[in-house]
Amino acid sequence: MVRIALALLIAACVLPRTAHAGRSFYGWLYDTEVMPVRGAELDTWIQDEDDKYGTRNKETWLSWGPLVGVTDQLELGIPVELEWSDVPSATDPTARRTSFTFKRFGIEARYRLAPPDPVEAGPFVPLVRVAVKRDVIVRNVVRLEADAVGSYEAGRIHAVLDVGITGEVSPDAQHFELHPGAGISVRATTELRLGAEVYGELSLDRVVESWATAGPNLAWTHGRFWLSGVFGIGLYHVRVAPRVIWGIAF
């Protein structure tokens, strides 16, 4: 009986999980899971970026959007982004100005360069992501995003490397950033994972400055619901940068 129990325990530990809809185990990083074909999910992101560049600005972003599985390897999303900012007044140093804005909308595609089945895909899974978003406030600004993501899974441990690049392009100006990040997530229970991640937004020009954060993360999956989050502590030009994502599959 001991041998049987041990064999079952080992099997349970090394067997990978079922692919879940577009889920990420990380707060700031994209992951490599996509939804099965004809699956649908509603995702929400909320992120804070406080005292970025030492400006005493407080920015909260909310991104919301449905995703659908077009094939077993390709999913499409239609995100809309809202921005809530609280910044010092330009004319009165003691006053602050608060605004809440519908900032952008767009479309994004995530293509998993491996079978959707974790057993067939093997431990290393790459994914590419591209997005095009239209700025609502400045109508001629288009934001382009691309990510190359790779994940590696070994037993309880899941690691991801996400290298993104963004560009905000208009007829008058352009600004590009590199968004590198990496993280590790360890399965604590069948539903809960704990880990840590590091993420940065590195300006490739002088339009804005760079910032970087790192912190502990967690991911929780329960049935059709998943949630992940990171409490990002500022490493460079930001005080705190927490981010929470959750999704509900249909």
């Binding site: 067997l15 057993v119 049935g223």
Partner: protein, 220 residues
Amino acid sequence: MRAPAIAALVAGLGASAAAQPSGRVVGTVTVTEPDGQPARATDVIVYMVGFTEPPSDKVTTIAQKGRKFVPDLVAITVNERIAFPNNDPFLHNVFSQSVPRKFDLGSFPRGETKEKDFPVAGVVDVYCNIHPEMAATILVLPNRRHTLAGADGKFTLEGVPPGDWTVFAYTRRTTRPASAKVTVKAGADATVDLAIVRGAEPAHLNKYGEKYHDTGQIYR
């Protein structure tokens, strides 16, 4: 409920059957309903554990037809593949949450076929996320010595390597497989009779671990 069968399969991952003289295992499976009434031995699979064999190249088919899996019980060898064609004029979403092989084929229409391999021995229960009445079981076995019993319960397992093995009989609606020890000698028949009690179809959850909230009428 599947634990006895899974434990038996895992314990059976032992010796590898090399090419050698073989014998046969013959016998009869007796099936009774829970109330003691005799039942036909259709959909009973007889298999052996204790040795391993490489898989064959064949692809077994479990079709989705008339809101049923056809057949609803198959036995394959570790690392063999199963094809899941949808023959119904509406979507099905085949999935399994069984520990030996979790998968989700997504929703796919008539005419499409998806395949899965099964690299780990065990009992894999397969369902449709849209139609709760659909259920099938895959026995992923360590060797190729398995067969479907006849309607009269008689079975023959050919090409069994000599040795002391355990024979099992399994049907979907049973809480535990029937088993018996058997000694196989080269060029001889070993006889074993098995008795199995059929039960009720167990309830199951959808792929999110929830009860089915409707009967799938929206998508039919």
